[in-house]
C-alpha cells in the first residue's frame, strides 16, 4: 500500500516538476510547482512527518508561491513571451542535467546497507520537533531571525522607489 502510494506520489511529483520546467506560461509553471509541493507533502506524510507536510503546504504553496504569483502579475509576465533558447542549448541543458542525475543516482545507490534505527512514530510529531527545535536548535532558530531581518531589509530596500 505505502509502496504504491509512494510510487504514485513520486511519479506525480516528477511529472509535475517536469511540467514546471517545460510549460511555457509562467502561471502554469507556478501551478504545477504547487502540485509538486503537494506531492512532496504527501511523501512527507508517508514518512510520518505530518507537521512538516503541513508546513510545507503552508509555506511553499501558500506563501512562496503566492509571492511568485504576485511578482508574475506585477511584472505582467503571464504571457508566453519568453524567448526560446536554441535547440542546441536546450539539448545541452537537458544532457547536462541528465548526466548529473545519472552520476548522482549512480553514486548514491547502495545506501541501504546503512544502519537504520528502529522506526519511531514520535519523530515527526509536533511536540517532539518543538523540543528539538527549542532545545538543541535554539541558537539557529534565533539566528535565522537575523536572516529574515536581513532579507526583509534587503527586499524592502531594493523594492522601494528611491525618492530622489
Amino acid at each position: 500500500m505505502t509502496v504504491y502510494l509512494f510510487i504514485v506520489l513520486g511519479v506525480l511529483a516528477v511529472l509535475s516538476a517536469l511540467m514546471v520546467v517545460f510549460t511555457k506560461n509562467p502561471i502554469h509553471s507556478i501551478l504545477y510547482l504547487v502540485l509538486t509541493f503537494f506531492a512532496i507533502a504527501g511523501e512527507y506524510v508517508l514518512l510520518n512527518a505530518q507537521f512538516l507536510a503541513i508546513v510545507n503546504i503552508i509555506v511553499y504553496a501558500g506563501a512562496i508561491m503566492v509571492l511568485f504569483l504576485f511578482v508574475v502579475m506585477l511584472l505582467n509576465l503571464n504571457k508566453e513571451t519568453e524567448p526560446h533558447k536554441s535547440m542546441l542549448r536546450k539539448l545541452i541543458a537537458v544532457v547536462a542535467a541528465g548526466l548529473l542525475m545519472v552520476v548522482l543516482v549512480g553514486s548514491l545507490k547502495g545506501a541501504s546497507n546503512m544502519s537504520i534505527q528502529p522506526f519511531s512514530h514520535n519523530t515527526g510529531l509536533i511536540e517532539n520537533l518543538g523540543t528539538v527545535l527549542f532545545n538543541d536548535f535554539l541558537l539557529p532558530f534565533e539566528v535565522s531571525a537575523i536572516l529574515f531581518l536581513a532579507a526583509m531589509v534587503g527586499a524592502v530596500m531594493l523594492g522601494k522607489k528611491d525618492i530622489k
Binding site: 539557529p140 537575523i146 536581513a150 532579507a151 527586499a155
Partner: protein, 454 residues
C-alpha cells in the same frame, strides 16, 4: 556570543537610525560597536566556549572573528562616504552588520545548521548589497547573477549536508567526525563531501565555480566589491577550512579533486586577469586567483594550514582594501575604473601611488610586503604536506600574477600624465590607506605579530 549580540544590536540600531534621524551619529557608533565587539571577541582568546552545541568559540573562531572585525572596521571607514550619499545608508549599514553576524557564525560554527545559516545570512545580505545601486544596470546584473548562482549553489550545499546527515544521522561536527570514521558507507559520504566542497568552493570562488566572481565583483558598487573580496572571502575560507579540517580529514579522498580545482583556479584567475582593461575586473580575477592560493593550504591539510589561511586572508584583505579604496577614489574622480585612469598618478599623487604600489606588490607577493609572506607560508604548508608540484604550479601562476599587477604600477609610474590635478583624498580614506599600507609592510616584516596566535 557577545560578538553576535553586539553586531545584531548594531544592525537593528542602524535600522532604527533612519527613523530617529540618527544618521550622523550612526557611523561613530558603528565603529565604536565594532571596536567593542573586537574587544569582547579578543577576550575570549584562550577561553574556548561552546554555545548551545552550535557554535564553538575556540581560538580559531576568535582569531578569524577578530580578523573579520578589523577588516570590517577598515571597510566602514572606507565606505562611509559612499553610503552616506545613498538614500538608504542605514539599510546598507544594517545589512553589512547582519552579514557580519553571518560571517562570525561561519567562522565559529560547530554544527552544519549554523554553517548553513551563516552562509545564507552573509549571502542574502551581499546579494542585496551587490544590487544596491538600483539605478545602475551593472549593479543589478551583478546582484542578480550573484543571487541566481548563489542560490543554485546553496542547493548543492544543502544536498551535501543532507547526504552527510543521511550517513551520520547528525549535524554536529564532532559527531559527524566520529561517525565518519566508523561508517562503512563510502559512496554517500564521498558524494556529500564533494557536494559540500562544491558549495563552499562556490562561495570562495574556486574554479570551475568561479564564474560569478568577475562579473559580480565588477558590477557591484566598489565598496561592496571590497567587502566581498575581503570579509566574505575570509569567512568563506574560514568556514571551508573549519568544516573540512574537523570533519573530513579522515573521510573520503577529496583532496585530489580540490588539488585540480586549485590548479584550475590559479591559472584561470591569473591568466584571465592579464588582459583586463578595467582595474576592478582585474582585481576580481586577482581575487579568484588568490582564492586558489588560499585553497592550497586546505589541500595541504596540516598543522600550519589554519594559520596560513588566517595570515593569507588577513593580509590579502588588507592589501585589497588599499587597492579598492584607491580604485574607488580614482574612479570617483576620473569616472573610470580602467587602469588607464591611473596613468601619471605617481606625479600628481605620489603618496597614493606609493600606497597602490605597496598593495600591488603585496598582491603580487613580493617581499617585503605581507603578501609575500602569506604566499611563502602557504607554500611552506604545502611543501610540508608533500604538495610540491602544486607549489611549483602556483609559482608559475604567481609569475603571471606579477605581470598584471605590474601593469598597474607601470601605468602609475610610467604612462604620461592625463591630468595633473591632484586627487583630493578625504581624511577617512587617508587614514584607511595609511593604516593598510603600514599594516601591509609591518605584517610583511614582522609576521610574528599575528602568526603566533593560531
Amino acid at each position: 556570543m557577545n560578538t553576535l549580540l553586539i553586531l545584531s544590536a548594531l544592525g537593528v540600531i542602524a535600522l532604527f537610525a533612519e527613523i530617529f534621524r540618527f544618521r550622523k551619529g550612526l557611523f561613530p557608533l558603528i565603529l565604536l560597536g565594532l571596536a567593542a565587539a573586537f574587544i569582547f571577541t579578543a577576550n575570549q582568546y584562550n577561553h574556548p566556549h561552546v554555545f548551545f552545541g552550535m557554535m564553538n568559540f575556540d581560538n580559531y573562531a576568535v582569531i578569524f572573528s577578530c580578523s573579520i572585525l578589523v577588516i570590517a572596521f577598515l571597510w566602514f571607514m572606507m565606505a562611509k562616504n559612499y553610503f552616506l550619499q545613498e538614500t538608504s545608508v542605514t539599510d546598507h549599514f544594517s545589512l553589512i552588520l547582519f552579514s557580519l553576524v553571518g560571517a562570525v557564525v561561519m567562522v565559529s560554527f560547530s554544527n552544519l545548521t549554523m554553517l548553513f545559516l551563516g552562509i545564507e545570512i552573509l549571502s542574502v545580505s551581499v546579494y542585496v548589497l551587490a544590487a544596491s545601486d538600483k539605478s545602475n544596470v551593472m549593479s543589478n546584473e551583478s546582484g542578480f547573477k550573484y543571487f541566481l548562482m548563489g542560490s543554485f549553489a546553496t542547493g548543492f550545499l544543502l544536498f551535501g549536508i543532507t547526504l552527510i546527515y543521511g550517513v551520520t544521522g547528525s549535524f554536529d561536527l564532532a559527531t559527524i567526525h566520529t561517525q565518519l570514521t566508523t561508517t562503512n558507507e563510502k559512496g554517500l559520504v564521498l558524494a556529500g563531501i564533494l557536494l559540500l566542497l562544491v558549495g563552499l568552493s562556490f562561495k570562495s570562488s574556486l574554479a570551475p565555480f568561479h564564474f560569478w566572481a568577475p562579473d559580480v565583483y565588477e558590477g557591484a558598487p566598489t565598496t561592496v566589491t571590497t567587502y566581498m573580496a575581503t570579509v566574505v572571502k575570509t569567512a568563506a575560507f574560514a568556514a571551508f577550512f573549519r568544516l573540512f579540517s574537523t570533519c573530513f580529514t579522515a573521510a573520503g579522498n577529496w583532496s585530489d579533486i580540490l588539488w585540480w580545482m586549485v590548479v584550475l583556479t590559479l591559472f584561470i584567475g591569473n591568466v584571465s586577469a592579464v588582459r583586463q582593461k578595467s582595474l576592478k575586473r582585474l582585481l576580481a580575477y586577482s581575487s579568484v586567483a588568490h582564492a586558489g592560493y588560499i585553497a592550497i593550504a586546505i589541500v595541504s591539510m596540516s598543522a600550519t594550514s589554519a594559520s596560513a589561511i588566517f595570515y593569507y586572508t588577513l593580509t590579502y584583505s588588507i592589501s585589497s582594501i588599499t587597492a579598492f579604496t584607491i580604485l574607488f577614489i580614482v574612479s570617483r574622480y576620473k569616472g573610470s575604473k580602467d587602469i588607464s585612469a591611473f596613468e601619471g598618478m605617481s606625479k600628481a599623487n605620489p603618496l597614493l601611488a606609493f600606497a597602490m604600489t605597496v598593495a600591488m606588490l603585496s598582491l603580487a607577493g613580493i617581499p617585503p610586503t605581507a603578501g609575500f609572506f602569506a604566499k611563502y607560508y602557504v607554500f611552506l604548508t604545502a611543501i610540508n604536506h608533500g604538495n610540491t608540484l602544486l607549489v611549483l604550479l602556483a609559482v608559475i601562476a604567481a609569475l603571471i600574477g606579477i605581470y598584471y599587477y605590474f601593469r598597474v604600477i607601470i601605468a602609475m609610474y610610467f604612462k604620461p600624465e592625463q591630468q595633473l590635478v591632484p586627487i583630493q583624498v578625504g581624511p577617512l580614506h587617508r587614514t584607511v590607506l595609511i593604516i593598510t599600507t603600514v599594516l601591509t609592510l609591518l605584517l610583511g616584516l614582522f609576521p610574528n605579530l599575528v602568526l603566533g596566535w593560531i
